[in-house]
Symmetry: C2
Subunit: 201 residues, 2 copies
């Protein structure tokens, strides 16, 4: 921690900003100064937006999404396909899929993936609620949209096991060449998967 | 602007965070999610720190520093040398010099440097107040701690001209090899300056 050179209020702001992902001690200092300089246009609105977010945002008890309503906007949307659930690791993955516009169903946020290294066990994830949602007679398919990492795939297997006996179709995202991607830069695993899952042209 | 996928309160928070220096749209999204997840330990304290900063921080009318008192803590410090002023471009430079602990005098923040390109003229800088502070009979030396850029040096010349006739010693920071720096990586200008200003060993 470098020597404190500004007043305690400014130092506290810098310290808190430095804990944000993407900002270090130096960039937090720069950000704080910028905020202070643009008090009316940046600091005041941001303080207010944070206060509002702090007061109103809650975690949806159905799917684990964050929103200002309970259940969340997606869970309440009557146009969403009730026969499918998309299982994601985190809210950021839900946001990414929503931006793609490819999902017409609802989600289930696990809140993490199983990890022996990080000590994440099945009871740390929102698995029980997933199993009870899957028990809904209207449910037909569970799409596992988990990251293609070792922990993500381990979790996918565990979730599949937990859902056995419900007579559901459990699917996962396709592996392959990213759109716009160059073969030369892709790893062998991705290329092998892309060849194996080739589609008629 | 990507499609809005979260509630308006969250989207507003993301938009405001994205305007902070060091954060782009993507990292603002990640930061917002992190803040929401750690509501009690991060979002609430940060919202409060920003509110407090917004309410209490002001610009010192004497030197241009930002602080919660008027005049600022440095200007009110009776142990500071009253015969010297350190002229800096910005509050961040003042902070940097304070961290070094090498300055025992007070500061004067210009609030920028002259720049034909950016249209910064002498009347846009805190020059008048510098001239009146320099007129103090106790004043002996003005240290120009401006950046070693073209605009910084142009400004240094302009400030020096403005202070003529007060019988003051006007000095600038030494050029040379940064402590810990390797000669191989330094530009010719710095090396030439370091050779010219060599000191007895």
């Amino acid at each position: 921690m470098p020597k404190a050179v500004a007043g305690p209020e400014i130092e506290r702001l810098i310290q808190l900003l430095a804990r944000m992902p993407g900002l270090g001690p130096r960039s937090a200092r720069r950000a704080a100064l910028q905020l202070i300089k643009k008090r009316e246009t940046m600091l005041a609105p941001l303080a207010e937006a944070m206060r509002v977010a702090c007061e109103r945002i809650m975690v949806c008890s159905t799917c684990g999404n964050v929103d200002t309503t309970e259940p969340c906007t997606i869970c309440r949307d009557p146009t969403r396909d009730p026969s499918t659930l998309v299982v994601v690791e985190d809210v950021s993955d839900l946001w990414a899929l929503e931006r793609s516009g490819a999902v017409t169903a609802r989600y289930h946020v696990l809140g993490g993936v199983l990890s022996a290294l990080d000590g994440v066990r099945p009871e740390d994830l929102n698995l029980d609620s997933l199993v009870s949602r899957a028990a809904d007679p209207a449910m037909r398919e569970i799409i596992l949209a988990l990251n293609a990492t070792v922990d993500g795939q381990t979790t996918a297997h565990y979730v599949t096991e937990s859902l056995k006996g419900h007579g559901l179709k459990v699917t996962r995202l396709a592996h392959g060449v990213p759109v716009g991607g160059e073969l030369d830069y892709l790893d062998e695993g991705t290329l092998t998967a892309a060849i194996r899952s080739r589609t008629p042209f």
